[in-house]
Symmetry: C2
Subunit: 364 residues, 2 copies
């Protein structure tokens, strides 16, 4: 019974390839038509609810289909209708050493919740950079593999909307304030509100030296949040203790945090652009011998589930990534000609106060 282990390096064994021709094969529309005693056209109409079919035959056909366990072939339907019921999500990930930001897990959860019930599939791809991402869309469209795409991390001068419009592919752009247009943005409004709330919270706690760790300058939300941060401080007659841009990697988070904490006038609070980095920052602070939040307060952004379990629990700005994902899916489905309820994405980013923020230390 023991299967010989195929150890020959190089090429794969020709042996245990799955036998696709085995069995009676899956039923086709013809089989169903025969079983129901009608033509294939009638079966198609019964299943799709098109054409003029008597209720009796419709039921007969559906019964036969269920009996045989038949579903219309996706490739055949896609070929005929030029619709694949597949949506692409391309995730850019800087290096292949790092995993994917948990942020995307949340997003995918939100997307799937709306796509799956409507028979849509999510085609996931990882690419190293923006150039590869664009090339990938070109290929996916050229091959007719997808009906639409979810673009993430809007950039200030994003080449993708123009590309996808040229390709004629429906798409939505996450993190862009632009609501209309060929590639509508999706996201909670008032981008800066969360940051402003975080700053207000820190000010109320007595913090005066607050530093901001920003994401890559080319991202749209980076600018919005940074501006909100600076404005909120300005309104209180203060200036940022420091603002540092990073490339969104964990390494950068640690480096920048160490740098900020080594400043002559050490900030008493750090605001991060996402929870992953906030976690790294919190770790770096603790490793430097500082207590969070007694010595330094930390605020994240995204409100990932993870933050609830750390010690201390992470205060973070909730931007409801899951809900945004669901809204993105609905918007995109609508643009694909699907009949779906409109997604009203109300609300704004809100600070969730937990344990990583506390009163500013007494003296400087």
């Amino acid at each position: 019974m023991k299967v010989r282990r195929e150890d020959r390096p190089g090429e794969s064994a020709p042996g245990p390839v799955e036998e696709r021709s085995a069995g009676p094969g899956r039923p086709t529309i013809k089989a169903v038509a025969a079983a129901a005693g009608v033509s294939t056209a009638t079966v198609s109409q019964a299943v799709n609810g098109t054409g003029r079919i008597s209720e009796a035959t419709r039921r007969r056909v559906l019964a036969a289909a269920a009996e045989l366990g038949w579903s219309p072939s996706a490739p055949a339907t896609a070929l005929r209708r030029a619709r694949t019921r597949t949506i692409a999500l391309v995730v850019r990930r800087p290096t292949d050493v790092l995993g994917v930001d948990p942020h995307f897990s949340e997003l995918i959860t939100g997307l799937e919740g709306e796509l799956a019930p409507r028979g849509y599939g999510l085609l996931l791809h990882l690419v190293p950079g923006l150039a590869e991402e664009s090339a990938l869309y070109e290929r996916l469209v050229a091959e007719g593999r997808i009906d639409g795409a979810v673009l993430t991390e809007a950039r200030s001068d994003d080449p993708r909307p123009a590309l996808l419009q040229r390709l004629g592919l429906p798409a939505v752009l996450l993190g862009s304030p632009e609501r209309g247009g060929p590639v509508p943005g999706v996201g909670l409004g008032q981008q800066g509100a969360g940051v402003r709330e975080a700053v207000a919270h820190l000010l109320a706690l007595g913090h005066r030296r607050i530093a901001y760790v920003a994401g890559p300058a080319e991202l749209v939300h980076t600018g919005a949040r940074r501006t909100a941060f600076e404005q909120a401080l300005a309104e209180a007659g203060l200036r940022p203790a420091a603002v540092r841009h990073t490339d969104f990697t964990e390494e950068a988070a640690v480096t920048v945090t160490e740098e900020l904490l080594a400043l002559p006038d050490r900030p008493t609070a750090l605001v991060f652009p996402n929870d992953s980095m906030a976690v790294c920052g919190m770790g770096a602070a603790q490793r430097a011998g500082l207590r969070v939040p007694a010595d330094v307060s930390v605020v994240g952004y995204d409100n990932l589930p993870l933050g609830r379990w750390l010690h201390p629990r992470l205060s973070s700005v909730d931007q409801q990534v899951q809900r945004v994902g669901a809204a993105a899916a609905l918007t995109l489905l609508a643009r694909c000609g699907e009949h779906v309820p409109t997604a009203l994405l109300e609300g704004r980013p809100r600070l969730v106060v937990r344990e990583s923020t506390g009163p500013a230390p007494a003296a400087s």
Copy 2:
């Protein structure tokens, strides 16, 4: 120029649906054939390297294809060849409140690395439970949407291999020791080795009361690791301080940890079945006023990137999820008839010692 915001709640606007018929449409094989002055059959053969075509015409055809930006239509090819070049990954996630375990991010990264270069796509689905997962495979196969599937989290009496064999769908099963058979398992050998190493490490540090937090009993690896844990202790003439089963949720991790730490003879070390839970456990311990690792040591499993950034950095058993993912992809591709190098998955799970494990506290 401003697009009127569609606010009508309920049904989607019929208005701004993407215009698919716009433009000249994507080129087909006919266009390429015409451009190269040959028949469509020749184009097909040139692209696929089949048939007998002179080198000159082949180049002419490829040039024409490149010129027009043509790629063969995936649906058409799928219909004709009964191959979609698409692999399914179905992730079970207990509740929709929680996100997806970062473990899967790693896995996806590994899969994608092998799939993408070969023109394969990854179709991702999230389902609430095992029943839905099975139903989903049935549907995906009935619709002819996929060529294969990656099954995760092997169970001790897993219904999926039989199902997929009946459906005739190539598949691999992650976390199963069964190497051959219709649905081969993929994973590092010597499942227990990592746990044994962890126990040895803790024993060397002087720990004598070590507790084990196990995953759900129905998972294959749960039993393997638990046995390894108990054996390793037995060899040292010890017995587990406690063994608790959980459902793999963060809540359970916290609850169980609190429970264990409240034991009359408090364990000095905790071993967790994955990093997510270890993080929760570590947080719970710290929140209970204990220092890690001074008062209690913590070991995780998976060695997720996250663990490197926490304070203290998490000691964890590395099972190279990414590499396993890559191997799974290769094994599956081979079963799909693809010509790929065989995946030799050598090595075994190894403990990575960081900061969350330390000498046992002096006295009990």
